[in-house]
C-alpha cells in the first residue's frame, strides 16, 4: 500500500505537486519538542525520503503565528500538502498514528 501510494507520488514528483510540505511547531527545547523533532525526522527519512520539506518553527520566537495557525496544543505538525491538511499533535512517538495522519499508514 505504501508503495502504491508512493508510485503516483513519484510520478508527479516532477510537478512538485505531491511533495510533502510539513511544518512542525515546537516550543524551544522542551523535552516534548526535542522528542517530536527527532521522531518526525526519523519517520520522514524512513517513509518520505527526498520527497518532503520540513519546516521547524519555534512558537516562542514567533508568538503571532500561534493565533494565525490556531495553535493550542504543542508540539504540532501541520501537513500542508498534499491535501487534505492534517494536524498532528504530540511528540510523534506513536508512529502508526503519525503515518496515518500523513496518509502513509499501511492499513
Amino acid at each position: 500500500m505504501t508503495e502504491s501510494q508512493q508510485v503516483p507520488g513519484n510520478d508527479n514528483n516532477l510537478n512538485k505537486e505531491n511533495i510533502y510540505l510539513l511544518r512542525l511547531f515546537v516550543t524551544g527545547a522542551t523535552p516534548n519538542s526535542t522528542r517530536a523533532i527527532a521522531n518526525l525526522k526519523e519517520i520522514c527519512e524512513l517513509h518520505l525520503k527526498g520527497n518532503y520539506e520540513l519546516e521547524i518553527i519555534d512558537v516562542y520566537q514567533q508568538p503571532t503565528i500561534a493565533e494565525g495557525e490556531q495553535i493550542i496544543a504543542l508540539p504540532l505538525l501541520i501537513k500542508k500538502s498534499p491535501s487534505p491538511e492534517r494536524r498532528l499533535i504530540g511528540d510523534m512517538s506513536d508512529t502508526q498514528k503519525v503515518l496515518r495522519g500523513l496518509s502513509l499508514a499501511a492499513t
Partner: protein
C-alpha cells in the same frame, strides 16, 4: 447603602481582598466591590443563560469604564459572530480592538482534524494568551468556554494538568479572569469539574422556567475571603447589557416627607384632610370590576402632570392608546401629558417576564425616567405570573425601592368577589399607607359606586362612604343620602332629592295659601270694622240729631216765651236783653 457597607467592611476587616469592579449593574453591589482581583472567577450555568454576555460585558466595561484592557478568548463563537451578537447592546468590539483596548481571539479546535501522536501540552494556548495579554497590557481575561478543549482533545490527564497550570499562570500574570463553564449533570457545577481549579469565586447563572415564564437568576456560590450576597438575584438582559438587581432591602430606614400631593379629585383630597396623599407614600385602590380604579389612577396621573411633575404609568391590562382613549371620555386628556413628555406609559403583559424580571425592568425604567409618581394598573394581573407570596415579596421590594426614591406609588387591585374583603388578593394592604376602596352598591335595580378610605396612615381622614360618580366632565365624589332605609345612591339618591324638592314646593304652596287666607280674614274683619264704625256713626248722628232738636226746641221755646213776655209787659223787654 452598599458603598457604606463596603466602607465598614474595610474598616473592620483590613486588609480587604482586592477586588475588580465588573461594571455590570448590580453585580458589584452583590459582590461588594467586584470579583477577586488578579484571580480567576468561574461563571457557570446552563446553555443560553448569559455566560458569554456577562463575561463579555465584564471585558467591555473594563475597557471603556475602568481603562483596563481585556482579552476575550472565545472557544465557541467566532470573533465576527461575537461582535455581531453584542452590537445590539451598543458594544462596538471592532473599534475597541482597533484602539487596542480589547483583543478577541477565537480558538478553533476540531477533533476530526487532529491526530494525537503522543505527549503534548497546551503551551500554544499559553503563548497565544500571553502574547495577547502583553500586546495590549490586558488586566482582564475571559476564557469562554474553556471546556471546549475537552471536546477537541482526548487526553484528559494532560488537559487537567494543563488547566491547573493555566490558572496558576493566570494568577501569576495578575490578570482578573472569568472562566465560563457549562453546567454539568448531577452535583458538579461544570461538566469537567472546573470548580476544582477555580476556587476563589464561583458565580452561578440560572435560567428557570416556571409556569412557562423564564427568569434569569444569578447567585454567588462561593467567594473566598469576602462577604457577599447569598440570595438568588434576578437579572435582565436588555439593550444596556446585564442588570442584576439586589432588591432585598434589609433596613426600614426611609426618609419620610410631610409634603402632600393631590389625588386629582378635589373631593377625595377633601376626604384626606383636604390635602391629598403624602409624598412618597403608597396608595392602594382596590375594588371590584368596573368600579373606576383606572379612572382614579388616570386622574392622579393627570394631576401630577398638570403640576409639571413626571408620572410613570405601568399598564398590565390595557394598551396606552386604549387608556388614553377611554380617559378622554371622562375629560382627562392624557395624550397632552404624553406629548409634553411628563407622562410615560409602559404597557406589558404580566406574562412577558417573570416577576423578578418585571421588577428589574421597572427598576430600570424608573431609574431612567425619575418620576414623582408611579402607577401600577393593576397589580392583580401579576398573580398570573407568580404565587401570591411571590407577588407580595416583589411588591414589598418595589415599595421599598420607591419609598427610598421618594416616589409616590398608586396600585390598583381587583378584588375578585363582590363581598368586600378586608384583604386584597395580593396581601399588600398591610404594606400601603393609604387604601381606598371602591365598591359596588347594588340597590334598587342599579349598581352605583361607593368609595371610602379604609386607612390612611398619619392623617385624619374621612370615615364616610361617598358616592363616586363618573361623568363626562370627570370624576366627582358626592355625599350619599343617608335615609331611613340606609344609604341611598344613584337614582335613589336623585329621587330622594327630588322628593325633598317636591316637599319644599308643597310646603311653600301651603304657606302661601295660609297667607292669603289670613289676608282675606283680615279684609273681612276690616270690612266688618268699617260697617260697625258707620253704624256707630249713624247712631251717633241720631243721638246728635235728638240733642240738636232739643236745643232748637228749647231755643225756640225760650224765644217764644220772651216774645210772649214782651207782648205782656213791654218794660221787661230791655232788661232781658241786657241779661243776655
Amino acid at each position: 447603602m452598599t458603598k457604606d457597607y463596603i466602607k465598614e467592611n474595610i474598616k473592620y476587616n483590613q486588609p480587604q481582598l482586592p477586588k475588580t469592579l465588573t461594571g455590570i449593574t448590580g453585580l458589584d453591589e452583590i459582590t461588594e466591590g467586584g470579583i477577586p482581583k488578579g484571580r480567576p472567577t468561574l461563571v457557570c450555568g446552563e446553555a443560553g443563560c448569559g455566560k458569554t454576555l456577562l463575561s463579555l460585558e465584564f471585558i467591555v466595561r473594563g475597557a471603556i469604564e475602568f481603562d483596563e484592557p481585556g482579552v476575550f478568548m472565545a472557544f465557541e463563537e467566532k470573533t465576527e459572530e461575537l461582535a455581531m451578537n453584542v452590537a445590539s447592546l451598543g458594544f462596538d468590539l471592532n473599534s475597541l480592538q482597533a484602539e487596542n483596548k480589547l483583543k478577541l481571539d477565537y480558538v478553533h479546535i476540531d477533533r476530526s482534524e487532529i491526530e494525537e501522536t503522543g505527549e503534548y501540552d497546551l503551551e500554544g494556548l499559553f503563548i497565544r494568551l500571553g502574547y495577547a495579554i502583553d500586546s495590549i497590557g490586558a488586566k482582564r481575561v475571559v476564557l469562554d468556554t474553556i471546556e471546549s478543549l475537552f471536546a477537541g482533545l482526548t487526553n484528559q490527564g494532560i488537559l487537567r494538568a494543563e488547566l491547573r497550570r493555566l490558572f496558576n499562570w493566570l494568577k501569576v500574570k495578575g490578570v482578573t479572569t472569568i472562566i465560563t463553564g457549562e453546567r454539568g449533570e448531577g452535583p458538579s457545577f461544570t461538566r469537567q469539574g472546573l470548580e476544582e481549579y477555580v476556587s476563589d469565586c464561583v458565580i452561578l447563572l440560572d435560567h428557570r422556567v416556571v409556569n412557562q415564564i423564564s427568569t434569569r437568576r444569578l447567585r454567588i456560590l462561593k467567594y473566598r475571603g469576602s462577604v457577599h450576597g447569598t440570595n438568588e438575584y434576578p437579572f435582565l438582559i436588555d439593550e444596556d447589557g446585564i442588570s442584576v438587581l439586589p432588591v432585598t432591602s434589609l433596613k426600614l430606614e426611609k426618609e419620610v416627607s410631610t409634603e402632600r400631593i393631590s389625588s386629582g379629585i378635589p373631593a377625595l383630597d377633601k376626604m384626606l384632610e383636604g390635602k391629598g396623599f403624602f409624598k412618597g407614600s403608597s396608595v392602594l385602590v382596590s375594588g371590584t370590576a368596573g368600579t373606576g380604579k383606572t379612572s382614579i389612577a388616570a386622574c392622579f396621573a393627570n394631576e401630577t402632570c398638570n403640576q409639571k411633575k413626571r408620572c410613570l404609568y405601568f399598564a398590565f391590562e390595557e394598551s396606552p392608546k386604549q387608556i388614553i382613549r377611554n380617559m378622554q371620555s371622562i375629560n382627562v386628556n392624557l395624550q397632552k401629558q404624553v406629548d409634553e413628555g411628563l407622562l410615560q406609559f409602559h404597557a406589558m403583559r404580566p406574562t412577558l417576564h417573570g416577576l423578578e424580571q418585571h421588577l428589574v425592568a421597572m427598576y430600570k425604567i424608573i431609574k431612567n425616567f425619575k418620576p414623582t409618581v408611579v402607577v401600577l394598573d393593576p397589580i392583580t394581573n401579576l398573580v398570573t405570573v407568580g404565587s401570591v407570596s411571590e407577588v407580595k415579596a416583589m411588591l414589598i421590594r418595589l415599595i421599598d425601592f420607591l419609598l427610598d426614591e421618594q416616589i409616590t406609588v398608586m396600585f390598583t387591585a381587583l378584588t375578585l368577589n363582590n363581598v368586600v374583603t378586608e384583604q386584597t388578593d395580593e396581601g399588600v394592604s398591610s404594606l400601603v399607607d393609604t387604601w381606598l376602596l371602591v365598591r359596588d352598591i347594588e340597590f334598587n335595580g342599579e349598581r352605583n359606586r361607593g368609595i371610602y378610605i379604609m386607612k390612611s396612615r398619619g392623617m385624619k381622614h374621612s370615615n364616610q362612604v361617598r358616592e363616586f360618580v363618573i361623568t363626562d366632565k370627570g370624576i366627582d365624589i358626592v355625599d350619599v343620602f343617608l335615609g331611613p332605609d340606609g344609604v341611598l345612591t344613584g337614582s335613589a339618591r336623585e329621587a330622594q332629592k327630588l322628593q325633598e324638592q317636591t316637599g319644599e314646593v308643597i310646603r311653600k304652596n301651603s304657606v302661601s295659601l295660609k297667607d292669603r287666607e289670613i289676608g282675606r280674614k283680615r279684609k273681612i274683619l276690616e270690612s266688618k270694622i268699617a260697617g260697625l264704625q258707620s253704624e256707630f256713626e249713624s247712631a251717633e248722628d241720631e243721638l246728635n240729631k235728638i240733642y240738636v232738636e232739643e236745643e232748637l226746641i228749647k231755643k225756640v221755646a225760650e224765644e217764644n216765651r220772651q216774645k210772649m213776655i214782651m207782648m205782656r209787659r213791654g218794660e221787661n223787654a230791655s232788661e232781658n236783653k241786657n241779661e243776655k
